[in-house]
């Protein structure tokens, strides 16, 4: 059986920072509502690929960074990213890593939980009322997942277990 290791030191951090960058591109257009939260995809990816190295601390810090950058309630994204990392590790244990379709089911559940948590916290600050548009990134996540999963594959390499 093979196991995965990060390709270089800080690969996980780098991939998460790239995801934060993707979240904050100074671009906009009508397609923007479909864009997923790239950090969530990256966290799910790492939870599936090297779950013993997944650190919730990382998710927490990245979440606080996101909160600061997007002026959301401090701790909102920290909380939801930690949930994403934890749930995807726990759910990832229940499925075989090779089953591609199972990944979609996991992603659907995890992104759903993430968005629900955010919606709940947002309602505290009265940022609700986007209607069904709010859920568009859920579809976007599923569509873009294979590509991002493949892209993040460059950040780790397989290692033979003795």
């Amino acid at each position: 059986m093979t196991d995965n290791i990060p390709r270089f030191t800080g690969a996980v951090w780098l991939s998460l920072l790239i995801s934060v960058g993707l979240n904050n591109l100074p671009l906009s257009g009508p397609w923007e509502i479909w864009l997923p939260d790239w950090v969530v995809l990256a966290l799910v990816h790492w939870a599936l690929v090297i779950r013993q190295k997944t650190s919730l601390f990382m998710a927490f810090v990245i979440g606080l960074m996101t909160d600061a950058m997007s002026s959301s309630l401090m701790g909102q994204h920290a909380f939801s990213y930690v949930m994403v990392a934890y749930f995807s590790v726990r759910l990832g244990l229940r499925m075989s890593p090779e089953a591609y379709l199972q990944q979609f089911a996991l992603l659907f559940i995890v992104v759903g939980i993430f968005m629900l948590a955010n919606l709940w916290i947002r309602s505290l600050t009265s940022y609700t009322g986007q209607g069904f548009n709010y859920w568009a990134p859920l579809v976007g996540s599923l569509v873009l997942w294979p590509f991002y999963h493949w892209f993040l594959g460059f950040f780790h390499s397989p290692r033979k277990l003795s």
Binding site: V20, N24, G63, M65, S71, F79, V82, R94, G129
Partner: protein, 344 residues
Amino acid sequence: MEATINDIDHHSTPGLSFQFVVFSLIALTLMAFDYFDRTSAPEQRSNIIPAVRTGFNMVSYPLQVMVDAPFKMYDYTTAFFADHTLMLAENEKLRKQLLRYSVKYRDMQILEQQNERLRALMKAEKRPGYTFTMAEILSAAENRGRQVVTLNKGTRDGVFEKQVVVGQGGNIFGQVIEVTPFSSNVLLLTDRLHTIPVRHQRTGMKALANGTGKPTILDLKSVEATTDVREGDLFVSSGLDKLFPPDFPVARVLPDGVQYVPGSQFANIRAEPLLNFDDTREVLLLWRVEPIPQQMPAAVAIPQPSANVQPGLQAVPEREETRTPETTTPATNTPPQEPVGNDG
């Protein structure tokens, strides 16, 4: 299930659950504090959460610069390889524009001097002037429900909280909500929780323009159904909030934007901001040069307290050839057209 956990990973899972609980609790505590901060009165606010926020904003600044770098490079390279004739044409156009604006500017200076004299005669308060600095938008977090962008100027450049930001053509863009030494976050007019007091340019009627979260629509609240608002009407800032400068254009009423609800006292008005928020990459930060003097009810107070007060009040602003809007005071003596005169 136990077997699955065990044969893949022996040690991390128990610790993971513990970590999860700890981090969730920390995050929830932070949220509670931040929420308390946001909802409580300004004097009760702690400064711990803003400090944490500023810290993380500073940490993320290099990242934002890096994200922005490819765009900047693209702009630079396209500018570098731009067609020479195109550039010449553009240059020509800009030169003409500059010439026209400098003449207008001269005219405006005369008007301003006149205005100041008239205001002095009427013992009205002096009109404040403004200076500007250009800032670039580094990143936008608009897909998170809030309309917030990050600028590349911070306290180091004199930016302060609640500073007004103006976009292309002098249209109001938003206000600064957070500042770090190098960067600042700006809340756009179109944010769902942003409201700006406006004035109907034609009738002078006051209203409030609320953001809707969509970059192309503002909702106008508390407009009486009996007032005369038509499509294409312009709304300018009223300045009643003492934050936004008065008479800056804000929004134009959309076609079919005025809807009367039977039985309702107010009309539903949808207007389009004059700025294209999506395309804006550069904005102007606005500084008020001369804040309005303290004697607030000047018009009422002055007639009564006899002639003693009046000269005193008046003496200060009396001989002010140096006018407020430009910081460069000598500009009044030397014509500002000099650079234009050379190329024209």
